[in-house]
């Protein structure tokens, strides 16, 4: 979520998994929106598609002189269509994220569990990033980020993805490829 009375649009795009979401912050701590995601089962053509209404809560922010840390909660309810079983089920998800960043360093851990028709699956992510240099507010800032991510229904293994991140005002983009060569593109837009 962004700042109060702002929209945040986010995309996480790769071959085995994509997620597009948008939310509107009604208060400094609360945002409501929707999410569309698709996960490809491990090395198969079967997919799981989910549409959810989501709620994001900034549980706590620590503002420090040279750093910022946050604890986030995200919950969603919606429907999942499984191409393997050819059925649609009600779904719910719960997620938690912790992050800490300075002007030159970024770290984050997140986990999100989905419940659909008696089945659960968990996505786990950890990220570390460093920026090349500090910038002024109106300049673009490049970062190098390494991500470890496990999408349980896709694979039991963690995938590691180095990414180049560029932040410039309201634009946030990341591009990279994991160690299997799968391309990855993420973006955020806040306005």
């Amino acid at each position: 979520m962004g700042f109060k009375n702002s929209w945040m649009i986010m995309g996480d795009l790769s071959k085995p998994y994509y997620d597009l979401s948008a939310n509107y912050a009604t208060t400094i701590n609360d945002a409501y929106g929707f999410s569309l995601s698709q996960t490809q089962y491990n090395r198969s053509r079967s997919t799981s598609r989910t549409a959810e209404v989501i709620y994001v809560r900034k549980v706590k922010r620590w503002n420090m002189p040279e750093a910022q840390a946050n604890m986030w909660f995200a919950g969603g309810v919606g429907a999942t269509k499984d191409s393997k079983l050819d059925e649609t089920r009600a779904t719910a998800s719960l997620g938690v994220q912790l992050d800490y960043e300075t002007t030159r360093f970024y770290s984050m851990v997140a986990t999100r569990t989905s419940f659909a028709g008696g089945m659960t699956s968990t996505n786990s992510t950890a990220r570390l990033g460093v920026s090349f240099y500090e910038v002024d507010y109106d300049q673009a800032q490049p970062w190098i980020v390494i991500e470890a991510r496990r999408i349980e229904v896709e694979s039991k293994q963690y995938e590691f993805t180095p990414l180049i991140r560029v932040i410039h005002n309201k634009y946030f983009i990341e591009a990279g490829a994991n160690l299997s060569g799968h391309l990855r593109f993420n973006f955020m837009l806040n306005y």
Binding site: G2, F3, K4, S6, I28, K58, R61, W62, N63, M64, P65, E66, A67, Q68, E101, T102, T103, E134, V135, D136, Y137, D138, Q139, Q141, I167, H168, N169, K170, Y171, F172, M188, N190
Partner: protein, 108 residues
């Protein structure tokens, strides 16, 4: 006599409002432009605000008021709080944003 005092007070206040061209706010938690844009947008909505300058490196925000209008510290603090940040210090400075940026550049 009261009228004279009131007149003098008016002159002093007018002088102060001219002397204090901007308000400088020290902010905690301001670490990236993507997040800090909320500060610029939130403060720009305040009718008395003419311009906002975010100094990410020094963790300060400088706000310039419209001509002849005084800035309210409380509404500035609220604007920054709404953007998710904490105000540590708020002070009047004699420089305009343009002068503040020039001085900052010359210090580099």
């Amino acid at each position: 006599m009261k009228l004279i005092y009131a007149g003098l007070l008016g002159v002093v206040l007018a002088f102060l409002s001219v002397a204090s061209a901007s308000t400088k706010i020290t902010v905690n938690g301001m670490v990236c432009a993507f997040c800090a844009q909320g500060i610029e947008k939130s403060l720009s909505k305040i009718p008395e605000v003419k311009a906002v300058f975010v100094d990410l490196k020094n963790k300060v925000v400088v706000v310039e008021s419209r001509d002849g209008v005084a800035l309210n510290d409380k509404s500035l603090t609220q604007g920054i709080t709404d953007a998710g940040y904490d105000v540590i210090k708020i002070e009047s400075i004699p420089q305009t944003i343009s002068q503040f940026r020039s001085e900052r550049r010359s210090k580099k």
